[in-house]
């Protein structure tokens, strides 16, 4: 099994390189480049050219790529075009903010979906299942941003229970209560956003699990449906879910872009959207690479986790 893990890690590394290559290429072919964004009508052609030369934009592709990659590995992630700030520093504050929001939301949704999905799946076609199934089917049709607006209106404007924007009130950075106050609405919206798809997955998994032969055998040995659910089916349903956890790794950075934007939450999402709007390429590129790398790592994590928990694979390797 260790061999398998090592093999997987080794295949992941070249993939990460491919990602960096693709990202760099995409930005390279963009119609505007970094300097164009800074051009003003007063500049002469020569001045523009000089700036481009200075920025290294006239070097051949592979040189630019090489330089950029080298910088990346050394922690030199460049500077924002619009604000001039160090991207690495920015992300150092931004990423934790996003994680503070996404991690609790995803885990809550994950946990709830297991409960709801198991209940629904084990009571197939009875009332509770019909309700859960109907609600989750409608749920996947609800745009998260709309839900955010509704929540904002009801709890922010009408009942004035929660602040509408941001993560902290200025001056109250140390206050946990203040944080929670800001946290509640985006957290609820995000959790509800993640929930329907997960519930449907667990429910369908539970339903197929109940169709397995061993369930009948358990019945014939006198087990009640509840016991079968608790001792057998739930374990079998939860096992493949670890892969979902692994695949959710990239969410820690990009899972809440829209929600963050609506609530002006100072995370990677708002940072990224602003960069998109202002054509701030260095930022976009870095987040692209980050996101792609996390996807690959997430897949790797999912595979490894699955390998660890499934006895069939664990032992026969």
């Amino acid at each position: 099994m260790l061999k398998y893990i090592i093999k997987r890690i080794l295949t992941a590394i070249p993939l990460i390189f491919v990602i960096t290559f693709i990202c760099f290429f995409l930005i390279y072919i963009a119609p505007y480049d970094a300097v164009d964004a800074m051009v003003s009508p007063k500049m002469t052609k020569q001045e523009i050219e000089a700036k481009k030369e200075q920025a290294g934009l006239n070097d051949p592709f592979y040189v630019q790529y090489g330089k950029w990659l080298n910088n990346l590995c050394h922690g030199e992630w460049g500077y924002s075009l619009t604000s001039g700030t160090n991207i690495r520093q920015d992300l150092k504050t931004r990423i934790p903010n996003t994680i503070k929001l996404v991690l609790p939301s995803y885990f809550t949704a994950f946990f709830l979906s297991i409960i709801l999905g198991l209940i629904a799946g084990s009571n197939q076609n009875r009332r509770i299942d019909r309700i859960i199934d109907a609600v989750s089917s409608v749920g996947i049709a609800v745009p998260t941003f709309w839900l955010a607006l509704m929540t904002m209106y009801v709890f922010g404007y009408r009942f004035k229970m929660f602040p509408l924007m941001g993560m902290q009130t200025i001056g109250k950075e140390k206050s946990f209560i203040d944080f929670m106050h800001h946290f509640v609405m985006p957290y609820v919206v995000l959790t509800i956003g993640f929930l329907p798809e997960l519930v449907r997955y667990v429910r369908s998994s539970t339903i197929s699990e109940f169709k397995e032969d061993y369930v009948l055998i358990q019945k014939s040995f006198g087990s009640s449906k509840a016991k079968i659910l608790l001792n057998h089916v739930s374990k079998n349903v939860m096992l493949p879910m670890v892969t979902k956890l692994g695949m959710a790794l990239p969410m820690l950075v990009t899972g809440a872009i829209i929600t963050e934007t609506i609530f002006a939450w100072p995370g990677v999402g708002t940072y990224y959207m602003k960069a998109i709007r202002t054509l701030d390429y260095p930022i976009v590129m870095n987040i692209l690479v980050l996101s792609g790398t996390l996807v690959i790592l997430g897949n790797l994590l999912a595979d490894v986790l699955y390998c660890l928990v499934d006895p069939r694979i664990r032992i026969t390797e």
Binding site: E212, D213, Y214, L216, I217, Q218, K219, S220, F221, G222, S223, S224, N231, H232, K235, N236, L239, D310, P311, R312, I315, T316
Partner: protein, 343 residues
């Protein structure tokens, strides 16, 4: 010696204790696409303590379904429309679900056809055994563990203590079936229902498992219902045999009566279509033409009519009544066995 044992059993039955289980007028139906289909028409049979009852039939004859009806583990869209199942005098069909569960695995145990999918792949064999043992026998962790090891050894699994910790996929088909037998016998049931226990196994393993069952049956003196589609299997182990077709019992009798004096056309055909083992010579395989009736066919008469050599007009229109012969031998037919030879 074994034959003598069987003979004694048959004689003993006459002055027998009470029947262990009695099935009366069992009718089981299916709901499929809005239609109601009858799978088991009107079954009556009984089984005595310690005897081995063979149930022979093609797929679709209703043999498995009968057992599932008895155990109360029918699928969602099937139900028992009428009938009684008296187990030790109590009609177990009327019991509350909670009561029924107490019986399953403890009084009546069942082993199924496919050992490959019968165990949860994510739980160890130890877990499976301990679960059943502690459910019905209480005791503590230590007791269940000891009992589990004992049972595994009994079914012929060597290194029981180590193998117990392994997962189902680490066992072969035959071994898994042994594990299931261990589970079934762990609470010392009075009745074991074995639903085609060896059909899914290769031939050498089949013999091993059947021998194991024979040994255990003799040791525990458990009443056993052995379901199979192969008449030959019954000749080895069973005291009495039931032949099922189309949801009816076509013939019932002792093993000798069935094999040497079959009175039903279907039984006769079955016998002719298995190879002639006695002489060790394989004769040309006789097949019964046609197919068993599907659930959807609404039959007015005898279900076997279409494939029966002796069928008459009456057979198509009227469901037969039972013809009785000596010592409890009976057939469901319009014609008596002797008459068949004349036709």
């Amino acid at each position: 010696m074994y034959f003598e044992l069987l003979q004694n059993q048959e004689a003993g039955r006459e002055k027998a204790m009470d029947k262990l289980m009695e099935v009366n007028n069992l009718k089981t139906i299916f709901r499929l696409n809005g239609k109601v289909l009858t799978a088991i028409q009107d079954i009556n049979f009984e089984i005595y303590p310690g005897e081995v009852l063979g149930v022979v039939g093609e797929s679709g004859s209703g043999k498995s379904l009968t057992m599932k009806s008895i155990m109360g583990i029918l699928p969602e869209n099937a139900m028992i429309e009428k009938g009684k199942v008296l187990y030790k005098g109590v009609n177990i069909l009327n019991l509350k679900e909670r009561e029924k569960r107490k019986l399953r695995g403890k009084e009546i145990s069942m082993i199924f056809q496919d050992p490959m999918t019968a165990l949860n792949p994510l739980r160890t064999v130890e877990y499976h055994l301990k679960e059943v043992i502690s459910r019905h026998q209480g005791g503590g962790k230590l007791y269940s563990r000891e009992k589990a090891i004992e049972m595994l050894k009994k079914v012929g699994i060597r290194n029981a203590e180590e193998r117990m910790k392994q997962y189902p996929h680490e066992f072969s088909g035959g071994m898994r079936q042994r594990v299931l037998i261990a589970m079934a016998l762990s609470c010392e049931p009075s009745l074991l229902i074995a639903d085609e226990p060896v059909t899914a196994l290769d031939v050498t393993t089949q013999v091993q498992i059947l021998n194991l069952l024979k040994k255990l049956q003799t040791e525990h003196q458990m009443a056993t219902i052995l379901i199979t589609h192969d008449l030959g299997v019954t000749s080895d182990m069973c005291t009495r045999v039931i032949i099922m077709y189309g949801g009816h019992i076509m013939e019932e009798g002792t093993k000798n009566q069935i094999i040497f004096h079959p009175n039903h056309p279907y039984t006769r055909a079955l016998l002719r279509s298995s190879m002639d083992r006695e002489k060790g010579v394989a004769k040309r395989l006789y097949t019964i033409e046609g197919y068993p009736p599907s659930l959807y066919e609404h039959l007015q008469g005898c279900p076997f009519e279409k494939r029966c050599r002796f069928a008459s007009e009456k057979c198509r229109n009227e469901v037969p009544e039972y013809q009785y012969y000596e010592d409890g031998h009976r057939t469901l037919c319009h014609f008596r066995g002797e008459k068949l030879d004349e036709r």
